[in-house]
Subunit: 220 residues, 2 copies
DNA sequence: CACTCGAATGACTGGCTGGTCATTATTCTA
DNA sequence: TAGAATAATGACCAGCCAGTCATTCGAGTG
């Protein structure tokens, strides 16, 4: 008896998968991929090890799925925030803010993202390529913003791809450094990252000329 | 018969250790910590597995040693470069340049540093604490430069610790993004990082006032 | 050359854990 | 409620590999 395009069974299956992935993130965050065992994950999810294999085909796949799903959510949220904000500066601020909020909201995911993600990408196996692509997709969300800013003369000429990646990584590592280490000094970390980046990329004269002179003959 | 404070045996032991660590870096870089086996490392070093245990007590220790030694060399080189350069801007440029050069000079180490280091730091085991400290030591090398720059009014007021870490991570991730991905576009990566960071931290009015006004009453 | 002793070896093992599957429990259907 | 279908279980297994150690090698010495 299908309801809303999904049978009862499909809904239950999906729910089970979500349960497993949530448990997996907790365990992977705590022990790291290497030291986490499937028994631990199964127990954390309140089921037996064999059950995991009804929903996923390997430890690697559980790991990759648990990261993939959250990462896509982060990207979607960043994309929405950028779309909602008006103006180059605000859009970049929104991207940083959203990433910070998402990191804060799921510490387990963030810890994995910080400690295991590079490793995952470097591995040439099936998931390595996928995750490199996924990372790049996320980073490139600000590329249109940068290009538009350059067109308006708000942002100086710079390599867009690298600048976009720099923002993603800067946000991640500064947040991580802060979480891992010393939270004692309570200045506005988010604003620090924004100021550092925005001053780093903006055009010499600030945003003085609204529809700025263009050097190259872009269309109307 | 001690020569130059070291016996023949001590020299040989040290040499053997260096051989092992070099081989270990190659293997760890290629396969990652998890998938690298001691047999591979031993073979790469031209010896049998048992021999490794004459010089190191575990796989973990070989790994930690292989990272530690290179990391300390990088730090030392950065420190020298900073000391040799004159002026805030030049010192920061020198720090970035040196890190780039060192990364380029030992790709194996750099790959480990990029893919495994965060993991190593996050692990609460014996090495986790040590490597967090070591990372911080490296990052903090530019702190005096930043403070001096702030005193001279060249650099705006900002949290020194975080700014120092941001530089380290920015250098690393931008370099990594470039190595891992697409080297096709040949702009000056080093200058990109420098410009991004320097513009990000410098004071509003540039470095116009050489012995700039100080807000707070620092001693003469 | 013969002897000594530390260095080097590599076959072996014990523990661990990813993955399996025969069995049991549960849910669905008629 | 009976019977079928599906989900869940957890004891078990197989392979892998870090770490060991009885044995062999070889440099130094007289």
């Amino acid at each position: 008896m299908p309801v809303e395009g999904k049978t009862r069974r499909e809904v239950l299956t999906e729910f089970r998968q979500i349960e497993i992935l949530a448990a997996a993130r907790r365990i992977f965050a705590e022990h790291g991929f290497r030291d986490a065992t499937l028994d631990q994950i199964a127990t954390a999810a309140g089921m037996a090890k064999g059950t995991l294999y009804l929903y996923f085909s390997s430890k690697e796949e559980i790991f990759a799925s648990s990261v993939r799903s959250r990462l896509q959510e982060v990207h979607a949220a960043v994309a929405r925030a950028i779309a909602a904000a008006m103006g180059t500066e605000a859009k970049i601020r929104a991207a940083i803010h959203t990433r910070f909020v998402m990191h804060l909201a799921d510490q387990s995911f963030f810890k994995i993202y910080f400690t295991e993600f590079n490793n995952l990408c470097a591995h040439p196996g099936q998931f390595g390529e996928e995750f490199k692509r996924l990372y790049l997709e996320g980073a490139r969300l600000v590329e249109p913003v940068l290009r538009e800013g350059m067109r308006h003369g708000e942002i100086r000429r710079l390599p867009v791809r690298e600048a976009a990646m720099a923002l993603t990584d800067l946000t991640r590592t500064v947040y991580a450094a802060h979480v891992m280490g010393m939270q004692e000094n309570q200045f506005d970390l988010e604003d620090f990252v924004f100021q550092l980046y925005w001053r780093g990329i903006r055009a010499e004269g600030g945003a003085r000329q609204p529809e700025g002179r263009r050097k190259m003959g872009t269309t109307s």
